[in-house]
Structures are given as C-alpha cells and as structure tokens.
C-alpha cells in the first residue's frame, strides 16, 4: 500500500500571552491507502490538535512546524481548502454545536452537494440516499428539520452522512463514542464498522475508547503528551503491547480490574524537555530515561515502541 497521508516532524505549540504549551511534539505518522488507523490517548495527549493540524483548522494561537504530505503534495492552506470535503473529511467531536442552528439540515447538506457541483435535480435523491446509508429513521423528514429538533445521536449520523457525501479518500472521526451509553455506543460502532468495511478508503479513528479502537481499526497508535509512544496491529494490542504507558492504560480498564499501575516517581518532571515524557509516572523508569528522549523503534513487523526499557 502506498502512503496517503504522511506527517513529518510535526510540532504544534499553543501560545497564550507569554505562555506556551506544546500539544504535538515532533510527530511522525504515515497513513497508508486504505488503512484503518486508531489513535488512542487520554485527554491532553494532543489527539484533537493532531487532527486539526491535518485538516488545517487550528486556531490562530497555534504555531505549527513540520510538514504534512497528502499523496506526495505538501499541504498548505490553499491546497487544504480544496481537499477538505472532497478528499479529507473530519467528523467532529462535539456534535451538539456542529450543525448551524439557523439552517435546516437539508439546506446544509445541499451546500455540500453544490460544492461537489451536483445538479439540483439529483441533490434530493442523493441526500436521501446518504441519510439512509447512515441508517437514520424516517430519512424523508430529516432534511426539513433543524438541528435542535434532532437528538445527539441523529446529529452525529447527519454529520457522518455529510462527511460521506463526496466519498473522500480519508475520513477522520474524532471521539465518536464519547459519553454514549452502551446501546448507543454499540449502534454507532456497528454503523462505522459497516461503512468502513464497505469502503476501500482510509479511516482514522481518534478515541480514548480502547475497545472501539480494536473493533474498528487494523493499526493502533498510542499517544501520550503529544508523542506517539507505541504503534502496533490492533489484534495484538491486548496481548502484545510493550510500552509501560500502554500497559497502564489497558490495566486501568474496568474489565481488567481497574488496576493502577501508574505510579509517581518523586522529583521527576512530568513534562520534560529532555528525557522520556512518561518518566514521571513509569514503573520501569531508569536513569537513562531522564537524560535522553527515546526514539520510536521497530520491535517487530508493524510494531514500534518508544521506550528505553524495551530493547
């Protein structure tokens, strides 16, 4: 598979008055054609910043360094403006405020089809097809409704339908299962699974939900403090993960007995400039970890780890 999206040495820093904070640090990532990738991490790991950087939708307070290539083209705001919707699409996290409250759903969907230069007489049918595809109940009344008349789940599906409207090569979904109860969560997971499997295009799932990541993707990348600490095939996540952070994260799941493996190493900076960023909480921490930043090293086919303690 050839690479679809390639991120090289990406650093994103937020500035606010005289303070600054790096949300993504020197990150390298390749998404191949047709790959289903999950980026897993806790809040503050920089997941959302990463997708915003890919989409070119970072706020003004963010400074961006590094390069992003899409099919060999280096992305810049002008190219991105053309690619968004057509080639790359983001399904946002906050579904409640993601549709414009003063326009009907149909009106907003139609705008997308106008962008795609689809003739007016075909638009209605296409909209209905899309709404059926995301399995919304009563798809014929949805275009006439306004966003506030829809439930959160319905809005999420409408956004998904909008994202699919131009069959983009890459879909990014930001936390689609966040805060959902089991029944709704399974509903959206199943729908996503169907849509992802039907298509040969690439899919990136941003989530903190490990089970969802395993269910929907072939590859999982774990993020901690703006860095990718481990990449491995999804099927191996539960059994073969190596990084101490991954281990701690998996152990904290209720099914694994809510174990707290993370400990606090006294006197270690929790966001160091040199050294491993996980050193402050790592139960395998050794002197080398404080002095030098580990690199992402290949340990097996399709498995990479950023850790001094893992040879």
């Amino acid at each position: 598979m050839s690479s679809l999206l390639e991120i090289r040495n990406l650093t994103v820093t937020y500035r606010f008055q005289d303070r600054q904070a790096a949300a993504v640090r020197a990150l390298d990532l390749t998404i191949r054609e047709g790959e289903k990738l999950a980026i897993v991490g806790e809040s503050g790991a920089g997941k959302t910043t990463l997708v915003s950087a890919i989409m070119g939708l970072l706020p003004n307070s963010a400074e961006i360094e590094g390069k992003i290539f899409f099919r060999e083209f280096q992305l810049n705001p002008r190219i991105l403006a053309k690619l968004r919707g057509k080639e790359i699409v983001l399904i946002p996290q906050n579904v409640h405020n993601s549709l414009n409250p003063v326009f009907s759903v149909g009106n907003q969907m139609e705008d997308l089809l106008i962008e795609a230069k689809i003739s007016p007489n075909r638009r209605r049918r296409i909209i209905l097809d899309l709404l059926r595809k995301v399995r919304l109940p009563r798809p014929e009344v949805i275009p006439r409704s306004y966003p506030h008349q829809l439930s959160g789940g319905m809005k999420q599906r409408v956004l998904l339908a909008m994202g699919l409207s131009r069959s983009p090569s890459l879909i990014l979904a930001d936390e689609p299962t966040k805060g959902l109860d089991p029944v709704r969560r399974v509903g959206i997971l199943y729908l996503l699974k169907q849509l992802v499997e039907q298509r040969r295009q690439s899919f990136v799932l941003i989530t903190h939900d490990i089970k969802a990541a395993v269910y929907l993707s072939d590859t999982v990348a774990l993020m901690y403090q703006g860095e990718i600490v481990e990449v491995l095939p999804a099927s191996l996540l539960n059994t073969h993960s190596l990084h101490p952070y991954t281990t701690a994260l998996l152990a904290a799941a209720p099914e694994r007995g809510l174990q707290v493996l993370r400990r606090i190493n006294p006197g270690v900076d929790s966001s160091p400039i040199v050294g491993c960023s996980y050193a402050a909480f790592c139960n395998l921490c050794r002197p080398a970890c404080l002095k030098q930043k580990p690199v992402l090293r290949k340990v097996a086919s399709g498995h990479m780890v950023r850790c001094h303690a893992i040879a």
């Binding site: 806790e42 089991p182 199943y190 269910y215 209720p254 809510l258």
Partner: protein, 309 residues
C-alpha cells in the same frame, strides 16, 4: 434507610407550562445502609434526576423520598445531621468548586457555616486527615480550582463531602469526564472510603464494567421507570427484563437492534415500542415492579406470566 416511595418527577416547560416531560415515573426503591447501589440506564432514562431527588435538589412531583423513615421533601424541617447525611459528587469536577474561592476556603466553608469545628486548629487537623484519605497534598489548599486537574478536583470534592460525615454518597457519573487511569483511581478511592467508613453509595453510571466492579446491587432504569433491580451477580447472570438483556449485550459489544424512541404511551409498558417480544397486554397495562426471586425485581408482563404460569 433511603427510600423512594412511588416517586415521580415531571418537568413542565413552554408557554403556560403545557409540555410535560416525565423524567422519573413511579419509582420505588430502597437503598440499604453501608451498601453500594449501582443505578444504570441510558442517557435520559431519569437516573440523574433520581440522584437529585435523593439529594433534595429536586422535590418529587408525586410520591415520597424518605430518609430513615422521615420525609426528606422539606429539608429545613430536618435536624442538621439528617440534612447533611446525604451528600453528592457530580459528573463535572471542574464545576463543583466556586472559581473565585481557594480550595482551602471551599473545604472549610461548610464546617464554619454549620459551626461543626469551631477551633481553627481542629478544623485544619480534620481537613489534613481527610486530604490524606483522598491522597491529596496539603499545598492544594492554597490553590484555585482552575489550577487543578479533573482527577484532583474530584478527589477534593469527595474530601469536602466526607468532612460532613455523610451516611450516603450520591455519585452521579463521577468518572465520565475523567481518563481511564484517573477513573481507576477514583473508583478505588470510593471503594476504600466505602470500606473504611461504611458509607453507602448510590452510584449512577451507564458504564456496566465500572458499576459491576463497585456495586453490590444494581437497578436498571428506562424511560423514567425502574425496570429491574437485583444483586450484581443476579443481574449479570440472569437478566430478565428485555431492556436489561439488550443493555448487557450492548455492553459486551454485541450488535443490538436500535431502540425506537419511546412513544409517550402513558398506559402501557414504557419499553413496548422497542421490545422484541411484546404482547397485547404490554400496550395497555404498565407492568409493576414485582419480585421474581428474593431481592430480584422485574417490571415485565412476560416475566411475571412465566413465573405464574
């Protein structure tokens, strides 16, 4: 000790209060001292409203909330101890503390207000003791809420209510906004407090694994009604209500049929529209919550019919 007797809560909205939203409908439930009760259900099932009714933040539209046999509807008429016996922690730890007060003040405020520990030395000692219990350093007392993380704030929220010596803690989705690792810490903490202090907990959540890890008994709510109550073991191994079965299957990540929006059919079973085995009776008569076994109650005509027949 905390008892809901046929409690309903209806919110009225709109012009001339014409639109009624039934959040909780005819719920009867007993929460026993020193136990952890897990209340589950989808969003909008009324579980948070029930929590607020327990805390006295809402008054029931019908029915009674009793605490140790006394009506809890009029908080002012209760003695201070009974009033403070139920305390809560909420979903959003970032909002629990007044952004303009330091943590130290926030912790001491209720003690000062109620004149519980008048001596400043004693007060500080007690606060230190509690901080140690929740694993927080003393230097947080000088900080403002905005300087602390969600996990830390949740622990401090817990510390503040522990200072009141509650007999029941209503924990309304206390970990949904927290990370996995932080969630594990808070759950452990709740468990430790429960064991050490013998305090009862009403744990409200839609996260089945978390609830089963904590609770001894579980109640399932749907559409404002309690549809099934039983011991954790019993619910996990022998769920009887069709909705409970669906909920458990979904939590195991099995593909489940999608729920129809429940039509506001006041006559029949609340789950009628989505049920895979509904009968004629279900459309016209609301099933009552009836024990099928000791300590296992279900509100379903089919289950009752099976039991009787």
């Amino acid at each position: 000790m905390l008892e809901f007797r046929n409690v309903s809560k209806v919110f009225r909205q709109g012009w001339l209060k014409k639109t009624e939203i039934v959040a909780v409908k005819e719920v009867s439930l007993l929460i026993k001292p020193g136990k952890i009760f897990g209340l589950m259900g989808e969003s909008g099932s009324g579980k948070s409203t029930l929590g607020k009714l327990a805390l006295g933040l809402l008054t029931p539209s019908a029915g009674e909330v009793l605490w140790e046999g006394r009506l809890r509807t009029n908080l002012r008429s209760l003695p201070k101890e009974a009033r403070l016996a139920i305390q809560g922690i909420s979903q959003n730890p970032y909002g629990v503390f007044n952004p303009r007060h330091r943590i130290g003040y926030a912790l001491a405020e209720p003690l000062i207000y109620h004149g519980l520990l008048k001596n400043e030395q004693e007060r500080l000692l007690r606060i230190r003791e509690i901080l140690e219990l929740v694993n927080m350093e003393e230097d947080c007392l000088r900080k403002y809420p905005s300087q602390l993380s969600g996990g830390q704030l949740q622990r401090l929220a817990l510390a503040r209510i522990l200072l009141m010596n509650p007999k029941l803690i209503v924990a309304d989705e206390p970990t949904t906004m927290l990370d996995l690792t932080t969630q594990a810490q808070i759950i452990h903490l709740l468990k430790r407090i429960h064991e050490k202090k013998g305090v009862a907990i009403l744990f409200i959540s839609h996260d089945l694994p978390v609830v089963t890890a904590l609770a001894q008994r579980i109640g399932i709510m749907y559409g404002g009604r309690l549809v099934e109550v039983g011991s954790t073991q019993e619910i996990l191994t022998n769920p009887l209500h069709p909705y409970t079965q669906l909920f458990l299957a979904a939590a195991r990540e099995e593909v489940v049929p999608e729920l129809q929006s429940n039509t506001n059919n006041s006559k029949g079973c609340i789950y009628y529209g989505s049920c895979y085995q509904s009968q004629e009776l279900c459309a016209v008569k609301t099933p009552e919550l009836i024990p099928v076994k000791r300590e296992h109650l279900v509100a379903c005509h089919l289950v009752n019919a099976a039991k009787n027949g």
